[in-house]
Amino acid sequence: MLEGLLIGLQTAMSFQNLAMVIAGCLIGTFIGMLPGLGPMSIIAIMIPIAISMGDPSAALILLAGVYYGAIFGGSTSSILLNAPGVAGTVASSFDGYPMAQQGRAGKALTIAAVCSFAGGTIGAILLMIFAPMLSSVALLFHSAEYFALMVVGLSAIAAFAGTGQVAKAMIMTVFGLILATVGEGALFSLPRFTGGVMDLQSGFGFITLAMAMFALPEALFLVLKPKDAGSVEADITDLRITRVEARSIAPIIGRQSVQGFFIGVLPGAGATIASFLGYAVERNLATKEEQAEFGKGSITGLAAPETANNAACTGSFVPLLTLGIPGSGTTALLLGALVAQTSRLGHG
């Protein structure tokens, strides 16, 4: 392993590859900040450039940089504008946006950056150690387990609802489930509930729904009820995290980077479920006073999904790098870029 590390370090530290990492991260972060452009679309745009490099490791390094840069940048629009562009950063807006509204935008962004860094780094360490072992476990997960995992995700919804809002949350969940049935069914490729509209054949788009649920109501709310939209008084550029806050975040980073990583390893589960479950788990573990804060600008409620989604992104590289099986749409694109250069991953 040490030998491999050295080879890797040597390759990664070459001028070309260093430039690729930095370029990838920057492009990913800045395009990722725009709502609506998720990692998938950015990577798709970048593939021709990556392939023209002619070096598979440089290409993969560039695209991987774009990937986690986009997740990193995606939380910015979640926190500042309540407009998550990627499903994996939806949970970051639950507490990140209230924080920004209270004039703690700088702190929220700092926490997001630090937690993303910690989640990604710990995820990479876990990837180094567990990748060979995990690849076989991930294959044990069949549709039945995925179904059960989704049920776990849904059952965690009670955790998102504030006190006395559980019934309302349940109603909204059922609405969501109903909306998910629009489009072609799973067993028979027949259109359902499309009302004959061709554009609905493939169902509602995630981004459309995310914008309709979060960003648009926010803007309309401000227009309709301008009195509530008191201007932000506090210093929004204040970055400082106090020692007490750091102490409350540290255990969350520890737990969520591990949990997020292992959820990310499962093909198809990925950053979205990792961040939702991370939020739910931390809410359940929190004390009563902290629990009341969740959803109203709790730093722990922001730290949990931010750590988890970055760790899960790293985890999603496990099946790709060890078995050559893409675990998500994004890693499928990465694989496609590599195959185009006739490089084989996995056991071949």
């Binding site: 390094i61 990604g120 060979p132 179904f147 059960a148 059922v174 509602f204 459309t208 649920m213």
Partner: protein, 154 residues
Amino acid sequence: MIDEPQIFWAVIMSMFIGNLVLLILNLPLIPYIAKVLSIPRNYLIPFILFFTLMGAYIGQNNATELLILVGFGVCATALKFADYPLAPLLIGFILGGMLENNFARSMQLYDGVSFIWERPMTLGLLVIAAILILLPSYRARRARARAEGVADGD
């Protein structure tokens, strides 16, 4: 583990470097990014509207999506006024599609729902789900019981 270990290790090392680069590059930028919020709302709102409409159009590449966006957006605003949480709807929508696909596939494979008890991991996860659903109400009941107990003791 891999036919080309060089790629595997190079990607992992680049992850460490990339994460560090992101942190170093972004921390100094945060004050400027946060300033977005100090833009007066009359200017910010059109921007939000523009980005939401653009995002929806890019995501699906058809104009029907814009009508859907506005339609749902207006409904969601009404729900927001009624103090309904909107996040669960989105979670239900994201998980619902995956839930259905996997459930349908397992039903086909096992010719029924026998996979629920035949696969230990599935059963384990479903038990966790049941605990997650029941835990809040159990906690609330216990807290109530304790509160009553204290009242009796007085």
